[in-house]
Symmetry: C2
């Protein structure tokens, strides 16, 4: 039996890495009058739908996908939430 | 009294909008052997720290910041979670 999982993946810069894009947004916000914004950090949010036999296997493959393709482990961290969205019994 | 809030902002393409970057990632994953990935959608994840007197005011300003700067309302949706991280009483 195959199950469909929705992975909500967050890729963020490691705290020690500078984020020039975030600094630029913060500076633009200041010019717009938002001088109460103390920090802006910009990351990626990726939704992946994957078909796997079980959650363990899904987590395993998503870890590999994040390491190989979605995140740069040298400067970025990632984490994901996994939600089962649909089961396929192969009967229909 | 001023409070510090951490806003975790998710900016996603509207479901009806094509995501060429997501399609490219999905296609690359297929070439790497992950042919069980059904869909990839790429959005932004932004962390903002903002100082406001209360949560209502923080939500109001974050809505304006998202509309004006972080999201393109024509093709993107946004939502955010708000967490109070620190209070400043002005005493210290």
């Amino acid at each position: 039996m195959q199950r469909k999982y929705l992975a909500k993946i967050f890729v963020t810069l490691r705290p020690s890495v500078l984020d020039p894009a975030g600094v630029a947004v913060q500076s633009s916000l200041k010019q717009l009058g938002y001088d109460n914004v103390d920090s802006v950090r910009i990351g990626k949010y990726i939704e992946v739908i994957i078909t796997e036999p079980d959650e363990r296997k899904a987590r395993q493959n998503l870890d590999r996908i994040c390491d190989q393709m979605l995140a740069n482990p040298v400067i970025e961290n990632y984490r994901f939430d996994l939600i089962e969205v649909e089961s396929q019994t192969g009967v229909f």
